[in-house]
């Protein structure tokens, strides 16, 4: 069975040969693995048999990216959104945005005209070359885009944006729709240009460890219609819709189902997202991807991660509707040997008889 068929069956709540596998190690993690046995020249995707390939367009306002400062440890750069970010040189974590381009709605109105779709937003040569390779390998091909609240955080500082959710809802909604429009139009352009997508991978963090960034009421009024439209568009092109949202987003799952989201990822354990509980409650309506506690992968003791996989995957995989992924991404404190064992265990407990 090729990955594309395997993932489609899982999404259709049917049982394939085994649970599909995908994951997201950080660049610094891969660097570590190279020193511990990951052969040079072979990507983790190929080595571990990840089954999804994601292609994106640049949907930013395309301000020039330039390095403002760097030293042995950090790099400070201008972002394509017009802000300034600081990160570790090895890009081992999500960056800290230290300046934002939009302090108010007037700033946004100045940026808005830059958000028009065009063909220069896609790296056609290397993108299509890679796409043809991945497609021929049978991988599930996805259009990837940050959307909604998560995307708009590139323009407006989080605290400022959360205040705007309460005080300036029209502005927030305008940002969501403007972004959704370019996300849709760029997907259309990529399809016209030769990409064939099986699904869309939308990134939109809506929660943190203890709960939601904003209330379900604000979600329903401001973002729910945008997600509905995105799902309508992708479904009209026979694409499945995956939503990545970190944090404790349990209370939004009924909205996701209503919108037409097909798969929710990454089911963050430390935020109280319990795969077994969610499977029981919503398993026939939405597919879950993730939910395996990455903190246990870093331990020297191999038992806790085996217990985790043995306990969760047999329940999650029942009647399809489950794709393996760590519960967010794989940080550099997970060794190559430990991770190899994780994938072996997923295959062992993820097999369908």
């Amino acid at each position: 069975m090729i990955p594309r068929e395997r993932i489609k069956m899982a999404l259709q709540h049917r049982e394939p040969d085994r649970v599909p596998i995908h994951d997201s190690p950080w660049a610094a993690t891969v660097d570590r693995w190279r020193t511990e046995g990951l052969p040079s020249g072979i990507s983790p995707d190929d080595y571990f048999g990840y089954e999804i390939a994601i292609y994106s367009a640049d949907t930013s306002p395309r301000f020039p990216v330039e390095v403002l400062y760097s030293d042995e440890e950090y790099i400070v750069e201008k972002t394509p959104y017009g802000g300034v970010r600081k990160n570790h040189r090895d890009y081992s974590t999500t960056p800290m945005i230290i300046d934002y381009p939009c302090k108010n709605r007037e700033d946004w109105e100045k940026i808005k005209p830059r958000l028009k779709a065009d063909d220069y937003r896609v790296d056609w040569v290397s993108g299509l070359q890679s796409f043809h390779r991945e497609y021929s390998l049978g991988r599930f091909i996805m259009y990837g885009a940050a959307v909604g609240y998560d995307k708009v955080q590139n323009y407006v500082a989080s605290e400022r944006l959360l205040k705007a959710v309460i005080r300036e809802p029209e502005w927030v909604v305008d940002m969501y729709w403007t972004d959704a429009k370019i996300v849709i139009e760029m997907c259309e352009r990529m399809m016209r240009g030769g990409f064939k997508f099986d699904g869309a991978f939308l990134y939109c963090d809506l929660g943190y460890r203890s709960g939601l960034f904003f209330s379900p009421k604000h979600f329903e009024e401001q973002l729910h219609p945008v997600f509905k439209e995105l799902c309508r568009f992708f479904h009209s092109h026979n694409m499945y819709v995956f939503l990545h949202s970190c944090g404790r987003v349990k209370d939004l799952i009924p909205y996701f189902i209503e919108e037409g989201i097909d798969c929710l990822q990454p089911i963050e354990v430390k935020a109280g997202m319990d795969l077994i509980e969610l499977k029981e409650k919503y398993g026939d309506k939405i597919t879950f991807m993730g939910g395996i506690d990455v903190r246990l992968m870093a331990l020297d003791d191999p038992k806790p991660i085996e217990e985790e996989i043995k306990r969760k995957i047999p329940v999650a995989k029942e009647d399809g509707g489950y794709i393996y992924h760590s519960d967010h991404s794989v940080p550099k404190n997970v060794s190559f040997q430990n991770y190899k064992r994780v994938i072996d265990l997923v295959k062992k407990y993820g097999i369908y008889c």
């Binding site: 081992s92 939601l212 209330s215």
Partner: protein
């Protein structure tokens, strides 16, 4: 000016409501009116705004308010403080405790830490914010210089939370560990981890963190 109790209660009630209803547009005016009516600025802070913040915290715990409302309430209180500060006599607004807070070395994330700092200030703590990517020696130096009651550490990442243990070790080495309570927080932090590294508490979120700090100070 003679201020009747009933009037005073009504005025303070309006200020509490303004905080709870996140009424940032009117909080300044209400504070000004309260002071003009003869309510001491200290009482406007403690019996009006701080009480309002307590209600906001309770609403958050009951899942009626979310992060957006917490931030908004903190900002509303800041607006009120801008008006009241000139009326507060030096030393009148007694701080209930002092907290040194920072995001640990290697970690650049500051939103959670900032929210905790805002809520601690609103609850009456003197907060010394060391910022992000703070090395252990800077925590030690800040404790030595400021003699806080509490040290708060934040980390978002599993790869940086280990720094917390080093900070506690360095505080011990400097002979300062027993002089402070240590509270830790952030996405990967658990009570078990706090216990393992010798912290006094792990906070699930900003509201719980502030409540723990307040309970420590109440016991002193």
């Amino acid at each position: 000016m003679v201020l009747h109790m009933a009037n005073k209660e009504e005025i303070l009630g309006k200020i509490r409501d303004a905080i709870v209803n996140l009424d940032i547009d009117n909080i300044g005016r209400l504070c000004e009116e309260a002071v003009r009516a003869g309510v001491p600025a200290y009482e406007v802070v403690m019996e009006g705004m701080a009480k309002g913040m307590e209600i906001v915290g309770e609403k958050y715990e009951r899942n009626e308010y979310f992060l957006a409302e917490l931030i908004m309430a903190g900002e509303t209180m800041k607006e009120g403080m801008k008006v009241l500060e000139p009326y507060l006599k030096a030393g009148e607004l007694k701080k209930i405790g002092k907290v040194v807070i920072g995001t640990v070395r290697g970690d650049l994330h500051d939103i959670g830490k900032n929210i905790v700092a805002t809520l601690l200030s609103a609850a009456g703590f003197d907060v010394i914010d060391l910022g992000v990517d703070v090395p252990p020696e800077k925590f030690v130096e800040a404790v030595r210089e400021n003699s806080p009651d509490i040290v708060g550490m934040s980390a978002l990442l599993t790869t940086t939370m280990v720094e917390m243990e080093d900070i506690i070790k360095e505080l011990k080495k400097a002979g300062l560990r027993d002089k402070v309570k240590v509270i830790i927080g952030g996405a990967p932090i658990t009570r078990e981890f706090a216990e393992k590294i010798g912290a006094d508490a792990a906070a699930r979120d900003a509201v719980e963190g502030v409540n723990i700090c307040k309970s420590w100070m109440a016991k002193r």
